[in-house]
């Protein structure tokens, strides 16, 4: 597993995730920048946030996020700005609108379906009539008993 960073390291020079010179002096802004960075994707990497990534592009994006925050953007404005530039692909948690509703609702709907089915099943099991034995002959019954009783 994780043949990770292989490709990554080939793309990128051995820089690092968040580097000391990127950090903002204002700890509150920096904290916000870090939180935002965790939800933004490094576009040239595979499934990594810009907060974790070593790639040059991730560094550029981190700096961009900080630039926007310093310029006075709210979190939403900063994210919107980046999405308008790089597209929806940059969000690690897609927005819950349009077709993405399927993604967001699939879990809850499936849970309800499963609970419904289970409720029906459980109600049936409360009073299931004893059906005829399923064609085990005497020998098999004996063997089954032997196994079950260790």
């Amino acid at each position: 597993m994780k043949r990770l960073l292989v490709i990554l390291a080939l793309i990128a020079a051995p820089v690092w995730a968040v580097q000391p010179d990127e950090i903002l002096d204002d700890p509150v802004l920096e904290e916000r920048a870090r939180d935002l960075s965790k939800d933004l994707r490094c576009l040239v990497c595979r499934n990594e946030s810009i907060d974790d990534s070593n790639a040059e592009l991730a560094r550029d994006l981190r700096l961009l996020v900080r630039e926007r925050l310093v310029a006075g953007d709210t979190d939403e404005e900063a994210v919107d700005f980046i999405v308008s530039r790089y597209g929806e692909y940059v969000l690690l948690k897609p927005r819950a609108g349009g077709t993405n509703l399927v993604l967001y609702l699939a879990g809850p709907v499936m849970l309800l379906l499963a609970l419904g089915t289970a409720a029906l099943y459980l109600r049936r099991r409360q009073s299931a009539p004893k059906t005829a034995e399923e064609g085990l002959d005497a020998e098999e019954q004996a063997r089954l008993k032997e196994i079950l009783e260790e």
């Binding site: 597993m1 000391p20 595979r46 499934n47 690690l92 099991r125 409360q126 089954l144």
Partner: protein
Amino acid sequence: MIVELGHFALILAALTAVVQAVVPLIGAHKRWPAWMAVAEPAAGIQFLLTAFSFCALTYAFVVSDFSVTLVTNNSHSMKPMLYKISGVWGNHEGSMLLWVLILTLFGATLAWFGNNLPPSLRARALAVQSLVSVAFYAFILFTSNPFLREGVPPFDGNGLNPLLQDPGLAFHPPFLYLGYVGLSMAFSFAVAALIEGRVDAAWARWVRPWTLAAWVFLTIGIALGSWWAYYELGWGGFWFWDPVENASFMPWLLAAALLHSAIVVEKREALKSWTILLAILAFGFSLIGTFIVRSGVITSVHAFANDPERGVFILAILAIFMGGALMLFAARASAMEAKGVFSIVSRESVLVMNNILLAVACFVVFIGTIWPLVSEIFFTRKLSVGAPFFNMAFTPFMVLLGVLLPVGAMLPWKRANVLRAARPLLPALLLAFALAGLAWSVQSEKSLLGPVGVFLGTWIVVGAMVDIFSRTGRGAFGQRLGRLKRLPRADWGKAVAHAGLGVTMVGIAGLMAWEQEDIRVVQTGEPWTVGAYEFTLNSVERVQGPNYISTMGDVTVRRDGNFVATLHPEKRAYPVQSMPTTEASIDYRFLRDVYVVIGDPQNDGGWAMRIYIKPLTNWIWLGCLMMAIGGVFSLSDRRYRVAAGARKSVPSAGVPAE
């Protein structure tokens, strides 16, 4: 020469597999004992041939035979022996060979130790198992042959990816494959039972050990991979919700569900068709996992071989086996009459709830994993689904599972009174609330994550203790304590595994909620503090390793002026692959890890340094270990040993037992 023999043995094994897939199936249908009996020697021969083939490939790696393309691409004469050997499965072709080796190993085990199974069920299960191997032999021989030779052998190989040169990772893939492939046994049994048209308690008792074993291996494999990521990748993440990780996690979730539903089949003869379906799906997800890793359809940080031809081949295997099995299921499932009758409040229904939570959680992971693909193909909307989504969508299921688990584990079969069953758990509940409150008041940030994790962990761990103690019956405390030792191992397995889940939950929540991080430029000799710790970078030196050059820092860690540890974070450069890796240096303790990473030199002569204080991290893997140990306890329970081979010698058929 040996390599050619290995290649030849593999082809022979494939032919044996064809025979084993066809003859016993016909034999079982026509009730011809001789034809059914073909399955056993065939399974043994298949395993021995594949094992020989695997040894031949290993030999090529050990002697660094660079006329074999695979060895050239993945090995190097300077590499330490351990990594020459682990290089055999550190690549696509070799890992597929390991995959079939394990597949045939399981088949052979069934042939050798499955004497107590009805002959027709055994013949059919072995035939289905062999059908799976036929597909994978074809895959190897036609699309990913490891034995291909190089026209002009080079002087030396390209080496193995340095990230993979690690003891933890050397054993990570074999464990995962043991798990994935172990689920093929559950699949074979499920399909065989569908063909037979019969599922009973004995069937569940045969299937459960295989599932349990597969689940234990998956647990260890996933934990090893996660631990490796933690110490190797340099920022101490332990789980990334990467498609390939999800690929191993989905079968794990379903195998956990299957373990529990098989208990209901075994004890109460209910949930039969659902259990069969789970067995089919669990292996299906193993195949999907293989597809995800090897096709490159879904981009992943660690995709393996991005070859569309291979992807299509695996997709075809997946479609044939899942399609076939599900069609058979649709045709035959109605024949699986449930027998047990139980009330809505009972052990049976909480196990149903367990299955719902695990299966739907698996479904959520699945949707999240394939959604980028679906969205791009059908809605031309290119998007990503990453860790933030999964954390949000997956966690509620685990929280619910954690809340229900201790109560569910205590409920009696058939009919239960929740209040009466849960009364002994009151101390666990109070303790859990108390500790969660303590965590809440002590932590500096007001986030719920940590306290909820502490609550769930305490509730589950203490709940498991109460559960096992309640099994000792009535009597004086000392007497009951004495009886603990004599409880069936399955009871211990249940308690230990459940407690392990609790420990893992605390670890994850603790790490995510209370981690401290510090990034800065450091001059040698100037101390700085992070949290309660003081760090000093004493020196940075260049060190020559066996096949790498390292930049190694020397960091002293103190707490309140007292010496804690000396750490040596490294940056390594592997000249053969011209690739750098960071080697974090970690001071492991029971309650926290201090995690130190050294970065690039700065213009002013300082060094970039990253420090993390990671509380409770080791609990994550400790919990996984406990889950695996619990599984092993359960596996060694007397009733499985009896069922899985050591059958008392019954003189002849027809003699009533006992």
